[in-house]
C-alpha cells in the first residue's frame, strides 16, 4: 500500500532521512522506532506533505504522492496525528472531530453523525460538548485520533500517541489501536514505549541517524544487538 524507495531528506548538510526503503502492506500495523533524532517524525512529515523530499520515490496505492499537499493526501486516504497534540482549542470536541469528518462528507449533519461515532470509538463521549482546551493530555491524544479517524483514512500515521500517558492510559490506547485495525485501517506507528510497540505491531522498522537499521518481527528486533546498541550505547549488550 505504501512504498518508499531510497528516500532522502536533507536539511543543509544533515541527512535527516538517509536512503530509506520500506513498505507498509494493507491491514498491517507497522512500527517505526529509533532513538531521538533518528528521523522518524521527519519521515512522517515527508509522507504527509509537510516537507518535500530531496530524492527517492514514495508511492501510495501505486500513486506518486511525493509532491501532494497535506489536504490532498488526506483526501487520498493518509491521515496523521501530531507528536505534540494540536487540538482546535477553543471549539468543542464534537466540532473538532466534525471538521475532520467534513473531509469525506459534504453535509454538516452527516459529518456530525460520523463525528459522534468516532468520538464514541475513542471513548470521549462524555466530553462531546466540552471545549478541547479543557481536556487533559490523555484525552487530547484521543481527540487527535478521533479527528484523524473521522477523515476516513486508509492509512493512519500515529506519532507517539503513548508519550506522556500513564500505564492505565497506555493499555487503553493499545486496545484502541487494536480496534482501529479491526475497523479496517492500516497503521504506521512511531512509538518509544517498548511494551506498547512490541505488543501492537506486526512488524517493526528501526531507524538510526536517518538510515534504516533493522526490520523484522518485534521479537527479533528486541534481540537485535545493533538496535540495542543504538538505544543503550555500545557498552550494554544483553547476553
Amino acid at each position: 500500500m505504501l512504498e518508499l524507495q531510497n528516500v532522502i531528506k536533507k536539511f543543509g548538510g544533515l541527512f535527516a532521512v538517509n536512503d530509506v526503503t520500506l513498505s507498509v502492506r494493507r491491514g498491517e500495523i507497522v512500527g517505526l522506532m529509533g532513538p531521538n533524532g533518528a528521523g522518524k517524525t521527519t519521515l512522517f512529515n515527508l509522507l504527509t506533505g509537510f516537507f518535500p523530499l530531496n530524492s527517492g520515490t514514495i508511492n501510495f496505492k501505486k500513486q506518486d504522492i511525493r509532491f501532494m499537499s497535506p489536504e490532498k493526501l488526506c483526501e487520498k486516504g493518509i491521515c496523521r496525528t501530531f507528536q505534540i497534540v494540536r487540538p482546535f482549542g477553543s471549539i468543542t470536541v464534537l466540532d473538532n472531530v466534525l471538521i475532520g469528518a467534513l473531509n469525506r462528507s459534504k453535509q454538516v449533519d452527516e459529518a456530525r453523525e460520523i463525528a459522534n461515532e468516532n468520538i464514541k470509538l475513542v471513548g470521549l463521549a462524555p466530553f462531546t460538548y466540552k471545549e478541547a482546551n479543557s481536556l487533559t493530555l490523555g484525552y487530547r491524544k484521543r481527540l487527535e485520533i478521533a479527528r484523524a479517524l473521522a477523515t476516513r483514512p486508509e492509512l493512519l500515521l500515529l506519532d507517539e500517541v503513548m508519550a506522556g500517558l500513564n500505564l492505565t492510559e497506555i493499555n487503553e490506547m493499545i486496545d484502541l489501536v487494536a480496534r482501529i485495525r479491526e475497523s479496517g485501517v492500516t497503521l504506521f506507528v512511531i512509538e518509544h514505549i517498548m511494551e506498547a510497540i512490541m505488543s501492537i505491531c506486526d512488524r517493526i522498522i528501526v531507524l538510526n541517524y536517518g538510515s534504516k537499521l533493522a526490520e523484522g518481527k518485534p521479537a527479533d528486533i528486541a534481540k537485535n544487538s545493533e538496535v540495542i546498541q543504538a538505544y543503550l550505547g555500545e557498552e550494554y549488550e544483553l547476553a
Binding site: T48, F50, S69, P70, E71, C74, E75, C79, R80, F82, R86, F88, G89, S90, I91, T92, L94, D95, L98, I99, G100, L102, N103, R104, K106, Q107, V108, D109, A111, R112, Y129, E131, N133, S134, R147, A148, A150, T151
Partner: protein
C-alpha cells in the same frame, strides 16, 4: 442545514436585536424627522458593512484593512454603468459586487502568503492603492471631483425622494448580511474556517483546503461590501474617491465588529447600534471645539474592549456566563 433549523439556533440576544431593529424600521412610516431616519440608515448600512467584513475578518480570521476598496468598487461600478449605459443600479449592484469578488480573490491569492500583521499591512496598502487609482483614473472615475448620480426618482433607478425607502432597503441589506454570517456559523465552510483559525496546518492535515476556504470567505465578504457601496452611492447621490475608497470605510467595519464581537453574527450589529449614535452625539456635542474628538473616543473604547472584553460587547450579553472564553463561538449544541 435547513432554514428552519438555522432559525431555531438564533439565540435570544439575536431575537432582541432583530426585534429592536425591526421595530425601528417598522416605525419608519410614522416618523418624518429626516435626521432620525438618516441616523437609522447609517446604523443599518454600517451594521451591514461590518457584518460583511466579519465574514473575512471574524470567521476566516483574515483581518483586512483594505475593504474600502471593495466598497468603492461597488459604488463606482454601478454608478459608471448607470451613467454610461443607463443600467439600473439594482443590476449594476451585482456587476460591482462580482467585480469586487474577483478583485478580492486576486488580492487574496497574493496576500494570503503573508502571515498575521503582514497580511493586514498588505491589505492596508491595497486599499490605499485603490484610493489613488480612483483619483487618477479620471477617464472612468471622474477623478477627485467624483461622480454625480442623476436625480430621477423611482424604484428602477434606486433613487427616492424620501429617506423611507432607503431605510427598508438598508434593512434588507442587513438581513442578507446577517443571514450570510449565520450561514458561516453552520456551514461546512464555516467549520473549516474555524479549524483554519485555530491551527491552519492541523486543519490542512485533516483535508481542509485552507487556500480555497480563505479565498471564498474574502470573496463573499468583498461581494457584500460592494453591495453596500452601491447603496451608499444611491443614497448620497454623489461619490468621490475620498468618501468611498477611504481609510474610514476600511477601518470602521473592523472597529464596529471588534467592539461588538468578532466572529459572531450579532457582534457587528451590536457594535453599530452602540458606536454610530454615540459618534453622532459626540460630533454634535464636541464637534465645534474638538472636531475629530469622536475618533479619540473610538480609540479609547477600542483599547478598553481589547483589554477587558476581548470578545467584544456581545460577550456581556451571552446567554451562559459560564461558557469558557475563547476565540470562537462555534458550537454544536445538544439537541
Amino acid at each position: 442545514m435547513g432554514i428552519k433549523q438555522v432559525a431555531f439556533k438564533i439565540k435570544w440576544v439575536h431575537s432582541v436585536l432583530l426585534l429592536a431593529t425591526a421595530t425601528l424600521v417598522l416605525g419608519t412610516p410614522f416618523i418624518d424627522n429626516p435626521y432620525y431616519l438618516d441616523t437609522l440608515i447609517t446604523i443599518l448600512l454600517w451594521a451591514g458593512l461590518a457584518g460583511a467584513w466579519n465574514i473575512s475578518g471574524g470567521y476566516a480570521g483574515q483581518l483586512s484593512l483594505g475593504h474600502g476598496a471593495f466598497f468603492g468598487i461597488g459604488a463606482y461600478t454601478s454608478t459608471v454603468l448607470l451613467l454610461t449605459s443607463d443600467l439600473s443600479p439594482f443590476v449594476g449592484m451585482f456587476a460591482g459586487a462580482s467585480l469586487a469578488m474577483l478583485v478580492a480573490i486576486g488580492i487574496g491569492a497574493v496576500c494570503f502568503r503573508l502571515k498575521g500583521p503582514f497580511f493586514v499591512l498588505a491589505t492596508l496598502a491595497f486599499g490605499e492603492v485603490a484610493h489613488i487609482a480612483a483619483i487618477n483614473w479620471r477617464s472612468i472615475t471622474g477623478g477627485a471631483n467624483g461622480l454625480q448620480i442623476p436625480y430621477d426618482a423611482g424604484w428602477l433607478n434606486f433613487t427616492f425622494l424620501s429617506e423611507k425607502p432607503y431605510v427598508y432597503i438598508a434593512f434588507l441589506y442587513l438581513i442578507i448580511v446577517y443571514a450570510s454570517n449565520k450561514y458561516m456559523e453552520h456551514s461546512r465552510l464555516g467549520y473549516q474556517l474555524a479549524g483554519i483559525r485555530e491551527d491552519e496546518e492541523a486543519a490542512r492535515s485533516l483535508g481542509v483546503n485552507s487556500w480555497r476556504a480563505k479565498l471564498l470567505a474574502l470573496g463573499i465578504s468583498a461581494f457584500l461590501t460592494a453591495l453596500g457601496g452601491t447603496f451608499y452611492a444611491q443614497y448620497i447621490q454623489i461619490i468621490d474617491p475620498d468618501s468611498t475608497f477611504s481609510w474610514t470605510v476600511s477601518i470602521q467595519p473592523a472597529l464596529l465588529t471588534i467592539v461588538g464581537g468578532l466572529g459572531t453574527a450579532a457582534g457587528p450589529i451590536l457594535g453599530s447600534i452602540i458606536m454610530i449614535p454615540m459618534s453622532q452625539v459626540i460630533r454634535v456635542q464636541l464637534g465645534g471645539t474638538y472636531s475629530g474628538a469622536h475618533l479619540a473616543v473610538y480609540g479609547v473604547i477600542l483599547i478598553a474592549i481589547v483589554l477587558f472584553l476581548p470578545r467584544g460587547l456581545y460577550d456581556v450579553v451571552r446567554k451562559a456566563p459560564s461558557e469558557v472564553w475563547g476565540k470562537t463561538v462555534l458550537r454544536s449544541k445538544p439537541e
